[in-house]
Symmetry: D3
Subunit: 230 residues, 6 copies
């Protein structure tokens, strides 16, 4: 690991980043070919928020939050702080003081592969956080990691400046250089889902709407009229 | 596994099914001899709902939701959709579109041994869901399973047409052919607990109310007046 | 294990215990040198409460809640019930009837290394509970454990009469004989954090406030102006 | 749960049961339509053995091994002891003394959804055991369960008298009334796999042998000659 | 946490410590009233060894092995190194170099609540290790903990100088001041088990040997001659 | 996800790849700045092997092994098959037939983020496998993924053609374009460790060898001569 902080990263245009804010994580994940999801282990600490922003990445060492301080200083308004780990750790590397510092810089939220604390205060401050754990356990400032380098969370790679979207389903990363196309595909999917929703509400079968009868028989699937009752 | 969908299953009478709707899962679980609980791993996706219904069962393959579509088409109003898996999987096999389809058919809720997504939309729609995981990860329609066959979730067997009750403690399954007796026992237990609650509120000791002093001494248990202070 | 219940334990003065009630778990954990935290596995069953009290300890055997009944009878107003286990278990050893019994004795809440049930009723009663699991699975009264003996939860030792504080971050134990000093240190920390919060809100960098630039370079950390774009 | 022990159960013929002893668990699992596997959580305590036998089932309560004693007394030579749980538990409900008792009755091995202990002694005695956990934690004899009733382990239902096969991949259950057909299908599959193995060793591609080129293109899969080097 | 190393601790006499070396962990755990077991999560890295020794305790911070170096320097021949953590961590805090240092000081083995690495080398050196994880991930020397203070692993408290016994079932701690009595009780239990083993081998039922028929009926348990065949 | 197979990837020179075969995973992980480790969850299925090779990568969908067949056909002697997943899955996507196919193509081993089966046969064939799970559960060939694209396992990114080393501590990935330098650093570290080992065997303290006394006092660490005995 190079112990560096990269000062100048490229970010997607803010109009583009913001346009993702009204689209659900599951929809975006579908629209970009089912990639970029940070997995079921990253959960919102307080239910409710739905945000988008530009990835400000941290690669942190276990039990250490030094790099988070370094990263906040390099933030621009509209960033989301993404904390990856060099090894698994649940310690509470982020709390209300860091959230105050984030808000002062215009950071929109935190996504962490480690733990967070002061979660009641985070809720009262309206600072949105997604994390792998909640823990009061404190951390130190002894072992540098890196800032604005590529990280991975839940099997997805996040590069600094990628577009991040987070809601109650979790978090998705959209690479910066494909964000335009993914936004279009996401919006198209949203529109299409609206029509499907209407059709379903009117009683149409999803078997017909999605063409799901085709192939069932070929795979050996059959309908039977009655099971033998036990 | 037989790849079949059974069209005509027997269901308990709706009066019976509905009568369970006001009784807690823990009480029913006790009343039927501590059986039928689907375990601590099945949690409500949104806190609040308490429902009862008739089991419409799905045996799904990992990362595939084809059978859920097949099952919804076979639903009757008052059913609850129960999704068991042939192998462990956390993918989001159910989302808001399927919930719309469920509501259009009068399905009261979903219980899934896999993952679900669009959980904010599910909350806004008032469609109750219990699941093992929350995940935006999408699924395919390639590998048929079965519909309305016996399944297991959390160590309990669920037959199609069994009575299902779900609240914040989780989910319990009451076999159709013993549902009458279990309802009686559950209501009796509820009544009895009301009296106990009153007695406890008035300051009686649970040691007396439940006869818990008997046997303590025989098992070598003793009261001591004071521990040596460290 | 000695199968005993200790009747007369020493408790901290109620003024002292109560003074902890307005201080966060993470702050107290820090103030006593990052000890006493019961770990990330102990979570509030219903979000919201923040309580302090005197530890009434139970050492329970798996699938058995006999000792909880014994303990409640020995409670004084202001106690918090702490349930440790002789072996891991998620069963629902505590429910609404026991909560009624607790409230009748002035017990302020429950912290359990096992499972609890009737959690909607617990919320409606305003009885605060922290636990490792939620499960409707019932328990028996067959195997005595002990009451008011030292227990461990999440790697921390809890002695009867210790001060317990619990909020949304989890639970911390403050040994009775150091509680005075820990309260002072906690309050001092709270005051100090107030000043830091103000400085951060005014835009100061946490790197300056905490002196975090020192040492970075010595550990090989460098700032670079621009990463090579991919 | 009915607290009963069923004395006379039907078993498959010993020739049939024994014939399964030379076939791998994965092969049998395939041959019966990918059903009956007890899951990845049930592992051999000591690597090596490969056994088949007739299921002698126990439904045990957490931290209690009373029913194992009851079951052993009802065993016939050729049985395998299958221990299911009413709730999750890792305690060491089985050790070397019970293994001696099993061997004296001709029981061929143990499969347990809980924990076992004395595992060095079990290895020295050549008594094969598969379990979810290894734990020295002892259990009691206070809470009866049942013997020779249907149980579930890892999502599969096991009826007393079913055929059980266990090897290093885990454990599979073959229902008694389909065991004949499953044996035939398993042996046929074994033969077929022998031919495939030979073809593969001679350098044929599995893509051709299994007809895996068909459909790839239709699903949008393409071969590209060279990726852009980073 | 006090950051201290205690130089002079009391140890049990070596004859006493060594006498435990031939007794199984499960037996000792039983003989001292089912206390002191370090839980099912602590497993031998290489199967085979069975050791006893005097506890040399380390309280380590996550991702840091500085204190292990401090502890080894304070070791006496016959010690076993016990590493507890201030917070959960799987990093490989111990490897072959530290094992060489341990052997040079006469340390008999390692028990760690974190991870270890170089496990092939540990096997080749015959240095016995029990741990919660195996991981190549390296650690730092930045955050002191403590040496020869009380620690907890798996819910059991370990004081420096306690007697430790480890075999394939895991690890048990015997407090120094009760070790004499526990040794006697363990040996008595071993002798008794020898007689039971003989009786079981001769075909006696464990139901008779342990008096397990008594009470079954009173708890509602019944034998039935035949289940209705499905 | 692009559903592609890349036919022509760049590989490191075989001399370079092979030179890593005698160096431990932990050493290489250290030598490249503690990066590239695939985590504590990837374990050898059979203990013993220590291999190096060139990464042939597969991105597979849950419960599907189609891409493994595609990849094997593209293998060159000296490759190691690396299977990443689009979502978590423990199914047995690889067994003895695929191992035969691998050996026929000169593939040296498998590293999988999913499950494997037929593990006794794998041991008998001397085909080395590391995986997250062992499971007899079969998979299908319905949902293409990709071959020779970047994947992640355990938080590390693996590009096709990277150097892979695996031993009992797990698996490490060395990027192709830094492999030369990492090999040098690894060998240097090995040499240095040899000298340290000798010094430790001769009784030198690791505190002196690694300069670990410096800084202890500054961090508030102190030696005390005697703890108060309890």
């Amino acid at each position: 690991m190079m112990n560096i902080a990269v000062r100048n990263i490229q970010r997607a245009k803010s109009e583009l980043v913001n346009a993702f804010g009204s689209i659900g994580v599951a929809t975006i994940h579908e629209a970009q070919g089912r990639t970029g999801y940070l997995g079921a282990g990253i959960r919102p600490v307080n239910r409710g928020p739905h945000i988008s922003g530009s990835a400000l990445t941290v690669l942190a060492t276990p039990n250490d939050n030094w790099m988070i301080h370094v990263a906040i200083e390099l933030a621009l308004p509209g960033d989301i702080l993404l904390v990856g780990m060099t090894a698994p750790c649940t310690d509470g590397a982020f709390g209300d003081l860091l959230a105050v510092a984030c808000q002062a810089r215009g950071i929109r939220g935190l996504v962490s592969d480690a733990g967070v604390r002061d979660i009641d205060a985070l809720r009262d401050m309206n600072f949105p956080v997604w994390s792998r754990a909640i823990s009061a356990q404190g951390t130190v400032k002894e072992n540098p990691g890196a800032v604005n380098v590529p990280i991975t969370i839940g099997g997805s790679v996040i590069n600094p400046g990628d577009v991040i979207v987070a809601d109650s389903d979790g978090v998705v990363c959209v690479p910066r250089n494909t964000a335009d196309a993914v936004l279009d595909a996401s919006q198209e999917r949203d529109t299409k889902e609206h029509d499907i929703r209407t059709a379903l509400q009117q009683g149409e079968s999803s078997m017909d709407l999605f063409g799901l009868r085709t192939g069932l028989e070929a795979k050996g699937f059959t309908y039977v009229d009655k099971a033998k009752d036990k």
